[in-house]
Symmetry: C2
Subunit: 399 residues, 2 copies
């Protein structure tokens, strides 16, 4: 018999304030819900919970789509699931790429055997609809256009409606990644004519990571039902998953019961607040944080006018070591923020104020802590102007 | 704006005693661990938790394999992950099939583009090693042999060692599904020469569903690293997942942090008890339950000598309605058991005594409740002989 290599003690976790790209701002009520006794995945009581979760997701996605469910994996599972169910070998697709998550979509579409044309923008800017038109013009029969509504790597929010019109013109499906925007900014699946969308639980929904809400309209569903070949992933095969979530309750895989308890509670909290109020709250706190940063002489990375209210990207000033600032915030304040990914490594910080954590207290703490860190690390910065600038935003909002 | 369709109240879940095929017997300590505050998936504190979880999994799998991690999905995600990473278009594989989960492996292998030969046994029996030899003889260069150690649909435990020797002879990889056996019966990955194995959390590990522990040895890992093509699923691509779990901590997808808290606690409880004691406990409780069933005149479905200690299949007697019995147990006792799947629908019950729920109290309650249900539904059955037979097993064990 092999013995255990190490001694493993009681679970102890530090109490971080999560102000990074996610997980972010977990609701205490959600953690309590997750600790409720597990029931069977075919229990009549659980089936009611599944129905309620789907209804809540429809509200949050602003859709009437019947097929609106949490996929049993984290946000990237939703991306993989939606794309690999819709795309078959030889299909032509356009992906709008202006950051890491657009690139990930390309990788997935290529694994599905698609011919992929890119509509590009530099990281930090949104993709112009004209770029989408150009990419489409290189294809004979484009099946779908995929884009990221909330590019978590750059902090950019991509406008959807004009690209949706282009989709209608060419008869392509529109697939939207709203992992970092759902419930933090308007995501209007039906009104915008989005055919399929997916999200994650650990961003503005304020639930731990582990599930990926997805929604597909009847047009997208028909495409899946009329596939010539089975989707490559058995686990993410929506034609089977929908038989479990639909009236049939056909056993596919064992649903992550306690995670679904948590998601249901998280969505209920969104509904209690109301989506429009929640969007306003995120927008206000983002505005205050940006004002504070600018008062400190910092620059925002994402293109003006197209900034996410849930995730703000800040350029690292000349001469400041990006990682040292994050380490300082973590060790001195127990505050987690994000660094840059890919080509932005070392160049930006990513501050998330999502769901439960999108509040004035956190905005002003983040500004104060950032000023302290910069001062401690060789760039003397006074917090007072930053705080005053943020205060002014809140004052105006109340007026 | 679309409004919420339904009113969703506070989360209320019935307190079921889960004695079915899983989820089964969740440890209260695990639920508490899952409710701990979420930290970031790249937090130094979480990295320590990941390392401990891998070390604990190595002990439970009885392996020194470095690549031993929980995949971010339920048990079927582990099956999909292991097979779709090891198999490429055109590969030849043998799958041993004697139940639903063997059939699922065939489906997945075919989606990967494999040529699949079956080694079959009737549902309820184990697959004879000779059948594996025959299947192999129909192939030129078999790459792997996949089999289910614990066939959850039939209650059969498949011996591994002889088939492992056959694998060695032909130079094929051995892939083993131990979803329903891990920690409930011996699973000796290194000693048996298993190249890759996967399991689920919601069976004998007594953690809610949501993760799938997998382990691959260096031989299997090399096969993955030397693939000619990328695995079809981005989400389950082990070459990327291992860079997150390994020393690099390269971001792939956001790990389900709180589920991993739960798994770590569940594994710690296994280590506290000790694997050998845990296997003995499962074997004893299964023996007592079987003795009780037989004393009631019921027949066990799975082949004698090859029965799982964690999941016992009982034939539905002539004239008894299978579903009515399960409904009676659920409504009168809050006890969940499982029915038959596929060709066994209506023909068997599946009783699970796994992990936390493998205890005398539950065995005797299940016998008493089953006797009551049968009596109420037209087959007068006395509990006293069943209880006496089970008692006798426990008495002998103490002697």
């Amino acid at each position: 018999m092999l013995e255990l290599e190490v001694k493993v003690g009681d679970l102890r976790v530090p109490e971080r304030l999560l102000l990074g790209p996610g997980p972010n701002g977990i609701e205490p009520r959600v953690l309590q819900a997750m600790a409720m006794p597990t029931v069977g995945h075919l229990d009549p009581a659980f089936i009611e919970i599944m129905n309620e979760t789907s209804a809540l997701l429809r509200y949050v996605f602003q859709t009437k789509n019947e097929l609106t469910i949490p996929v049993s994996g984290t946000g990237s599972a939703g991306m993989d699931c939606v794309l690999s169910n819709l795309i078959e070998e030889g299909d032509e697709v356009v992906v709008a790429v202006c950051g890491l998550f657009g690139e990930r979509m390309v990788d997935i579409a290529e694994r599905c055997g698609a011919r992929v044309e890119l509509a590009r923008a530099p990281w930090g800017r949104m993709v112009e609809p004209d770029e989408v038109r150009k990419a489409l013009s290189r294809l004979k029969r484009p099946k779908l256009i995929a884009l990221v509504h909330a590019e978590t790597s750059t902090g950019v929010m991509q406008p959807i409606e004009e690209i949706s019109s282009i989709c209608k013109e060419v008869g392509a499906l529109l697939v939207v990644d709203c992992v970092t925007s759902l419930s933090g900014a308007p995501v209007l699946v039906d009104e915008w004519g989005v055919d399929a969308a997916y999200s994650g639980t650990q961003k503005c929904l304020s639930c731990p990571p582990g599930l990926s809400p997805v929604t597909l309209n009847e047009r997208a569903r028909k495409v899946i039902h009329e596939r010539r070949s089975k989707p490559k992933s058995w686990y993410l095969d929506l034609t089977m998953v929908e038989r479990y979530w639909g009236g049939e309750r056909f056993y596919h895989h064992t649903a992550p019961v306690n995670m679904i308890y948590g998601l249901r509670e998280a969505l209920r909290i969104v509904a209690e607040e109301g989506l429009e109020q929640r969007w306003r709250r995120h927008a206000l706190n983002a505005k205050a944080f940006i004002a504070g940063c600018e008062a400190m002489g910092l620059e925002i990375f994402a293109q003006e006018g197209y900034r996410l209210p849930s995730l703000i990207t800040v350029k690292v000033p000349q001469g400041v070591d990006e990682l040292s600032v994050r380490k300082y915030l973590l060790s001195e304040f127990n505050v987690e923020i994000g660094g840059g990914l890919g080509e932005l490594k070392g160049k930006i910080w990513r501050f998330g104020f999502m769901g439960y954590n999108s509040k004035r207290k956190n905005v002003e703490l983040a500004l104060a802590a950032l000023a302290s860190a910069l001062s401690a690390l060789g760039r003397p910065t006074s917090a007072s102007e930053a705080i005053a600038a943020a205060d002014e935003v809140y004052r105006e909002a109340r007026a």
